[in-house]
Symmetry: C2
Subunit: 427 residues, 2 copies
Amino acid sequence: MATINEPPTPGLLDHCRAMAQRSRQAALELATVPAARKAACLRAAADRIRADAEAILAANARDLEAAPSFGLTEAATDRLKLDGDRIEGIAAGVEAVAGLPDPVGEVIETVTRPNGLEVRKVRVPLGVIFFIYESRPNVTADAAAVAIASGNAIILRGGKEAAHSSRQLVASMREAIAAEGLPVDSVQLVDVADREAVGAFLQCDDLIDLAIPRGGEALIRRVCSDAQMPVLKHFSGNCHVYVDKAADLAMAERVVVDAKCQRMGVCNAAESLLVHADVAAAVLPSIAKRLEAAGVEMVGDAATRELVPAAGMANDTDFATEFLGPKISIAVVGALDEAIDHINRFGSRHTDAIVTADQAASDRFAARVDTAVVLVNASTRFNDGGELGLGAEIGISTDKLHARGPCGPRELTTYKYVVIGSGQTKS
Amino acid sequence: MATINEPPTPGLLDHCRAMAQRSRQAALELATVPAARKAACLRAAADRIRADAEAILAANARDLEAAPSFGLTEAATDRLKLDGDRIEGIAAGVEAVAGLPDPVGEVIETVTRPNGLEVRKVRVPLGVIFFIYESRPNVTADAAAVAIASGNAIILRGGKEAAHSSRQLVASMREAIAAEGLPVDSVQLVDVADREAVGAFLQCDDLIDLAIPRGGEALIRRVCSDAQMPVLKHFSGNCHVYVDKAADLAMAERVVVDAKCQRMGVCNAAESLLVHADVAAAVLPSIAKRLEAAGVEMVGDAATRELVPAAGMANDTDFATEFLGPKISIAVVGALDEAIDHINRFGSRHTDAIVTADQAASDRFAARVDTAVVLVNASTRFNDGGELGLGAEIGISTDKLHARGPCGPRELTTYKYVVIGSGQTKS
């Protein structure tokens, strides 16, 4: 079997199809495993991760050693680095998933038809998930845990930067899965570095039910364009905060500063601030002072620059950009609907907030902004599976089909109709 | 504006984008229209269709006149033909949609988080739907009605065979929509015959939220391959009936004959029969006699042909084929799991039935057959929005993501999270 960093593998498509076939068989078995056994398996996996801490740290050391050759920044290298606390965090994350309710088997609805047919809508796993990500090692364990909890088999394709760490984490989890008597191929890690492997899996639409890309725009565009199966996109978060004319201005300042500055490199951080003209003079200068103090570069429209001389000129590209760092675009708007139109034009359907004391304004904003998560008088940073009460997440969907916002175990399920009759025929 | 049968339109992409933009604006308005106004609009549309019966019949006469030039069979021409009764059926279908519950605005869940955030999951329309279909004129009216009921704008691209009928039906419905004060572009019919128009719309992923192709395999494959937005497929129905060893054999015979013969050209008709070896000798010959009497050609495996000499030899292609006519494939299986494996291999995830008195067998079949609708002791013909209690449908999804089985108004919705705070921040 090929290992990381080998040259293009002969028979790559066959190799990937065989992996996907093993996943499909595992999914068929896993689909009917009772909740208690899946939870026990996840707790065993957490224990195994703790017990294998030394091996995981050794694998991580190899990744850290290779980090400069991948051109990783210091910040990226720090995110890659594991220690005892971070390994405990990974194990605790897997355990937390074990504590979530099992979505599988839920009878969503039952109706009895006039002809006596009993129609049940039953929640079932999706099947096989192909997860392509560029992230820290904990994402490997989280994604595997969410998949098992929802009865899905998962094929993991992590970033090359974390290859050794991910491989050891998956080995530990597979050992626990096997020891608990669940199908070990419920979790598989793509074991060929060849970039073509991704393309090979994306052709297996008869074996893989869903592709989830999580990473940069180039990765997501490639997956969308090549995938023959449905794709659930975790795309960019060009998140807005709109300060309405009826806002509590002190609250607005707190919410804007938190949304932008509490953590800048994440998808639910604010990237754009809209302020109603009636309150711009009263609130923009003090918000700008705090953003400036936090080292945030500001670009704005003409009205903003009159109130905030430190702000540069913003163009449409700025308003459409997810900065993922210390920069924000600012515009002054003349009306609520202008804010709504601006967000529907430039936003990315991820997370958008309004600060207002006017119920009619927040209702209109919530109804008309086309986004996964609307926040009223709260920071955009709350769009997160944990914060919304869903538990762990495999990503935050910016799609409108199937699932929107944070995707936990339930979002990795579908339903089937089970119709119980007593010999009914149509004729 | 270009009309049907003109040569390729210059500026086609701009023309289609402008149409999609009008749909998007209509969708934004329609999303917040209350249930009662949408229902009133649909009732007005039904009345308008009745009042315009003469114009619709005249338009239909032009389609019928052109039918031979499209090479339509007599059966296809009959399906295209409208008369007073059929127009009344179309109007009544639109009225029936008006009577369905409005899915929009439903609060699916509410949780209050420890920090006081109130998290509401609210059902909202998808937005703009592009519906490409090759069907009878009534599908035009049904699809438009289901879209309006669910607060979505729809762009209709019907088959050229029904072009005049569809155009008049859409004109009647738009007149009613305008008269009721709803956005008239909630329903638009693609007004250029150019095949490239479909491709142009499929590029507008910033304006169109979902493409639904309904028709032959070539159409669906083309839409899947070209669409930049998500696609909900109404693919083929290679539907199975499995007669278990614990089946009531008289019931099995009734169910199989109904599933195959009650109407042969539809997607939920049975295409394949599996019979447990223990009961094959007792039930297959009598089923075969009735199928033969109904003019159904049979192809089977060796065991089938021993019991049914009239059956030809079946190969894998036969088992994978949706005949949509008087032909059926038959196999004798040694065990329940063999039937399940056969269906998961050859089926199309549409509709599959088991006849058995053994609860453990039907539970296992229901859990392990990967299909949208499982029927236990009932005919496959019941997979239909009306029969399952969903009301009208725009199609039957064979996808697993988003919606499975019949798609009515609720299946054309998504959700958003609306999070109500009082100034919460993460820091």
